[in-house]
Amino acid sequence: MKLESKIPAGPLAEKWSKHKFNLKLVNPANKRKYDIIVVGTGLAGASAAASLGELGYNVKAFCFQDSPRRAHSIAAQGGINAAKNYQNDGDSIYRLFYDTIKGGDYRAREGNVHRLAEVSVSIIDQCVAQGVPFAREYGGLLANRSFGGSQVSRTFYARGQTGQQLLLGAYSALNRQISNGKVKMYNRTEMLDVVIVDGKARGIITRDLVTGKIESHSAHAVVLCTGGYGNVFYLSTNAKNSNVTAAWRAHKKGALFGNPCFTQIHPTCIPVSGDHQSKLTLMSESLRNDGRVWTPKVAVKGLKAKDAAKIGEADRDYFLERRYPSFGNLVPRDVASRNAKMVCDEGRGVGATGLAVFLDFADAIKRDGRKTIEAKYGNLFDMYQQITGDNPYDMPMMIFPAVHYTMGGLWVDYNLMTSVPGLYALGEANFSDHGANRLGASALMQGLADGYFVIPYTIGDYLAGLPWEKIGTDRPEFKEAIDKVNTRVNKLLSIKGKKTVDEFHRELGLTMWEYCGMSRNEPGLKKAKTKIQALRKEFWENVTVLGSATELNHELEKAGRVADFMELGELMVDDALSRSESCGGHFREESATPDGEAMRKDDEFTYVSAWEYKGENQQEELHKELLIFENVKLTQRSYK
């Protein structure tokens, strides 16, 4: 199989404009003859469904939540990048492009990333026009802040709820199209398969989560905007119901999966408090601007935050400041995460579980006064206290890294089409744009770029070459897919074993976290593979799912998702095994500098891994898309 990225030729800055001109158009009068399915209603899905409806296509949109407004984009806190250069501080499209490529540790396509930087400016205009209440200065103009170690202030924000406001903007545009009859919305409906007819994606199979009814929907194209798969780790900052099922089903129907092992682990999350823990909560990384990260030099078992003051200055190890004197506590996410794990592995972690480090504001409060710190971080401090019961004004916070975002996803070309014709993937669901590591405030940018400004152009090019005759859902391809879905649902209900779905999910998560998390090595990964295979086998013999298929049944929903997570987990391990270099969020212990820092191997690994499904229990096949850098020079990161 040859992977065609379809990056247009020509100078970087002209690629997208030229490409847009070369794309075929669908006559306005013909657009209403085409049906498009959009799965997921987060930033990518809601913006795509709304924009495609505005153009005149007939759109069917699906979400498993009770309302499209609840998609997990809603939880993004920090902000959205755009190369507006409103601050006159030297930002430009090229600088945003460069920062994103470098931040991704040179594992993303130049062409895609430059397009992202280009359309970033239009996103802000669009959101403002929709009535998104961005933060503003006293003169009435838009406010910016610097984010995630960036040298320029290009991040637009709406308090600590930027994702919420952008999503509600996209949701409002979607609502307008629903009310105009151009989008038909299906809430509480989960996609369980893609239907391929004559090699093209022509529909999906869904389950109505309230009635349990399995249904077919046909269309001319299918757009998956179904988010990331961080919940493969069980504990992550993802919403509880976020899952990989739609993307995984597409993968099993022929869509290649790109860079599955590229996971972003965020350093500042609230630590696990016990076995009951169901999810992890992110604390904005802006806290590291004023907080100092430390643990005791000598292990103190079960050290509580309220006893931290008893450890004298001489007995504390500010390990980030010690190891990285020039960046200190502001080293990038992956470096901060890995170092926290290292000190905990040495037994110097704090808290009841020993899996936490202190983030201390005592010096900042002494220096700037409590009022200043309160103004900067008041809401975060309140949130921390709400969850942990500790008051961070009086004692240090405890933090630990947690899975936050997955850079990997369905492989797509420049048009955002997967390797299955007519099947598209947008936002976190695809692999593109962030390489091996995503910069802060770039996820919102990519989701909206794909939905508002890329797919409306590129999908027309495909549809223009497709006859507008609809195909019936009575075709054998639909019936076969329905049968398969039904068989699987009934199988899950019939096992009647001893272990709950959550127990399997937790076990999978622990294995993934231990061996395919912040730092990986070959023996560990091999062990993980064996463990996951055994767990999968046990699952299909010993899982228990009560209730029936014809009613609201959360356990049944979870069971299907966990079954898919287990298969994905194995692929992630395979991918991590095959990439024996350290890059971005992927740290391979075998590939480190003498002082233990990540070392990329550009000669061997400057490619995208794209995995092809080969059948049940078969080893997947790795295809490589070589990355070509014509504009930037590859350098090793250093934060010493």
């Binding site: 309302s67 929709q130 406001q165 307008r176 629903i178 919403a239 508002y452 009613e551 609201l552």
Partner: protein
């Protein structure tokens, strides 16, 4: 901790429901209220009893999906979403009563899960600015005074959970609807459709069967996001002024 739970169980929309009592042992004060329900459900599954259905998703207080009516308060004793309520708020041995949102416009689907699609339909009636993607002015073309932007943001933080409806003895949705009306009435982008929007959204709210405002401010007292009743006052002004001065009254269909 040991907790006694009285939980509303209802098989489906058209079946009669009732309270069932459960004891949950080994509750840690550090658990969230929903994690305590996870424990309950695991216990039930192990005993071959069907787990309690409840809505939840982000578990960080922003998606608005969780919706438990706890000891007579939406989301429980604190002004947070249910997922942010922690067991340290309760005492060992407490009996806690948990019900679904109670409102005619929010029919029960199962156990603690209700249908809130009425909220979506109200938003579809006018909760938007009619702009297509592309062709909009530069973001800094129209300055918005900081105070105005901040007030619009205060209203826009509504998470659409429906606690205001559950708190109100008339099951009124005025706080929810007014938050959106106020956001757009304040911002310059919302001006062209200001009158239509207020009329349409109020008409849809009435059509969904929500009650009238009781002026008791229970909605504000229970709102996890601190949405103020002054938004309701603003919506009333918007609505009356629109009724008196608008060109025509449309009651269905969105903007083109």
């Amino acid at each position: 901790m040991k907790i006694n739970l009285k939980v509303w169980r209802q098989k489906g929309q058209n079946t009669k429901g009732g309270f069932k009592t459960y004891n949950v042992d080994h509750v840690s004060p550090d658990m969230s209220f929903l994690e305590m329900f996870d424990i309950l459900n695991t216990d039930l599954i192990k005993k071959n009893e069907e787990p309690v259905a409840f809505d939840h998703d982000c578990r960080e207080g922003i998606c608005g999906m969780c919706s438990m009516y706890i000891n007579g308060h939406p989301h429980g004793p604190q002004q947070t979403a249910t997922c942010q309520l922690h067991m340290r708020t309760f005492n060992d041995g407490d009996t806690i009563t948990v019900e679904p949102w109670r409102a005619k416009a929010f029919p029960v689907i199962k156990d603690l899960v209700v249908d809130r699609s009425a909220f979506d339909r109200i938003q579809q009636a006018g909760g938007f600015v009619s702009v297509n993607t592309g062709g909009v002015p530069d973001g800094n073309e129209i300055p918005v005074p900081k105070k105005v932007a901040d007030e619009a943001m205060d209203a826009a933080t509504c998470i659409g959970c429906g606690a205001c409806v559950a708190a109100c003895k008339n099951a009124s949705a005025m706080l929810f609807v007014s938050a959106k009306v106020a956001q757009f009435a304040l911002l310059p982008q919302g001006q062209p459709e200001r009158k239509d929007r207020a009329e349409r959204m109020v008409a849809q709210m009435d059509a969904e069967g929500f009650g009238s405002c009781t002026n008791t401010y229970a909605c504000e007292a229970e709102c996890p996001k601190d949405i103020k009743v002054t938004n309701i006052a603003r919506m009333n002004r918007e609505y009356f002024s629109a009724m008196l001065t608008s060109y025509e009254v449309k009651t269905s269909g969105g903007g083109d």
